[in-house]
Symmetry: C2
Subunit: 335 residues, 2 copies
């Protein structure tokens, strides 16, 4: 089907187009770009500290005042620290994951845009919709000749033009029940696989779909749960044992955005950090709360207001635009 | 003098403002943003492979099919590979250097914007001037209240407004003679120190200054030279033993841009790579031409046209704007 296409040019052009449209949305909305560090302590990790890449010089790991140095997976805690000062911030750049299994969903290195702002869960979902729609609108309004350069055709344009402004939303609990009704082997507490996400998206008309209110990993569910969410997601007062989180699943791709409202009570935040599965992993790795020293020190200095964060998986958006799974072009010939 | 100022907010706001203005210039000029890999082989190094950070997982260095993995210092060779396809490209992100001595000029991690385009040396210098002037104009045109948020005052605005559209240019040879006349202890072939750069800039009215035509590191000068330039800079036909390179020195800061026209004869490029000081260092480190395998393979497939590249050191621009040396804010509380 695609013997010579997509070309490396069309992928690069599409990536830069999506980057520009997404960034344009954030700047129009008043988000300030922050340059976050990418060489960090374990505080730069997401849920799984065991997938951190280490940094050394001539195999010497004591280069950073005797402290272990890792490649960042997220700039989130840095953004969080700036929200009380700047209200709306974002960062863009590479996220590094030592994923033993590499596929379209698991990459060792990929581009991530992350935002954090003072606001509530509804505003968070609206920003996700606004961001995706800014990219879709940008592509839909392209001239035909421009569209060709991006390796998109008139059919794809028409399909993209159908993207709704407001996306359907189901809770994790509803998603599990729906999948079970479809005959899928899945229990409450399990991770939803990529294939199962695809089925859910198709059920809702093959459009972007939110799955919200995932199980709170720090709640006693009376059973082990497979789903793992970041410690700083806030428990939902109306739904005991669930957090105010949202994943966006895109057609032709899968999870493209992870988002949540954050805990803003400092003591609760510290408690959740130190009782998270991530923190247990860190201790097993020989790390300690010292890896979060600047973050904790900073938390103790200030009052937090309710705020939300989200991460846009950038590769996912180009995959949705083209209806194909493909990797960023430059990685292909690196190794 | 600056007990409470600059604040972390004003630094972050100024950085994001400069980033936006610089990026705006590149997009107006039709440069396409490329996402380059940051985990690379030794081909991601600048002149000194001994300052590469290594990447491992649980102290295991064989994670990348038994090949050593480093953190990129430049995305230049990736951009170079795309110029025949896209003509004007750029990348933006972190450069990582294992610098044993850390000061305002030597950072372990800093933000770099790099461009590469099909064109000649004069166009290259014009892009540097255009980029810097886009940033200056953006700041000069700010409302007073906006300026205050960036911790810039009316005096600084007036001073910035004096920035010429075209910058003075001297060759490396002229710079050495001038410094000697000023009583500086410097010989032809030596590196120009930051203090000496400052004297040159002051001599030319404290405005941005180009130093061009550095010694060709691959020419037999009959003496050892300290100056080290990247292997792919093109020798100047009119000035034997010199390359078509340009460094931009900014007032209050120092070197802020490194730029050159590139060799476009494939065989010469391969010869210069394998006879560079960098390549000797790489061999001493246990590396080989295999570290450049994709690059060489790619070179052999295509015809190159004359093209130029340049690197904007991003920190430098915020230092020039404020008249002070200071680091990016987020790094301060990381370790």
């Amino acid at each position: 089907m695609f013997l010579s296409k997509p070309t490396i040019e069309s992928i690069a052009l599409l990536e830069s187009e999506i980057l520009k449209a997404g960034r344009g949305y954030l700047e129009k909305e008043g988000f300030i770009e922050i340059i976050v560090p990418r060489m960090v302590r374990a505080n730069g990790s997401c849920e799984n500290v065991n997938t951190l890449f280490e940094v050394s010089v001539d195999q010497n790991f004591d280069w950073f005042n005797g402290k272990k140095c890792y490649l960042a997976q997220t700039g989130q805690l840095y953004l969080e620290s700036l929200v009380p000062l700047l209200q709306k911030v974002y960062c863009a750049g590479d996220s590094f994951r030592a994923e033993p299994k590499i596929d379209a969903r698991h990459l060792t290195e990929f581009y991530l845009m992350e935002i954090e702002f003072a606001g509530n869960f509804d505003e968070l979902l609206a920003h996700v919709e606004g961001f995706i729609n800014a990219i879709v609108t940008d592509l839909v309004e392209k001239q035909e000749t421009e569209l060709e350069k991006l390796d998109l055709d008139e059919d794809r344009r028409k399909e993209l033009a159908q993207t709704p402004k407001i996306f359907p939303k189901i809770t994790y609990d509803e998603a599990i029940k729906l999948l079970q009704k479809m005959g899928e082997k899945i229990n409450w507490g399990n991770d939803i696989t990529t294939a199962q996400e695809k089925k859910l998206v198709e059920h809702f008309g093959n459009q972007p779909l939110f799955i919200t209110h995932y199980p709170d990993p720090l709640w006693d569910h009376g059973q082990l749960i497979e789903v793992e969410k970041f410690f700083n997601m806030i428990p939902d007062e109306k739904n005991p044992g669930r957090v105010l989180s949202a994943d966006l699943i895109l057609p032709y791709d899968g999870e493209a955005v992870g988002a949540a409202q954050r805990v803003h009570q400092v003591e609760t935040l510290k408690y959740r950090l130190q009782n998270s599965r991530m923190f247990k992993m860190l201790k097993n790795k020989g790390g300690s709360i010292d890896d979060f020293s600047w973050y904790i020190k900073n938390l103790e200095k200030k009052r937090l207001d309710p705020s939300c964060w989200l991460r846009f998986w950038y590769v996912a958006h180009s995959q949705m635009a083209t209806r194909q799974r493909r990797h960023p072009p430059m990685r292909d010939f690196s190794y």
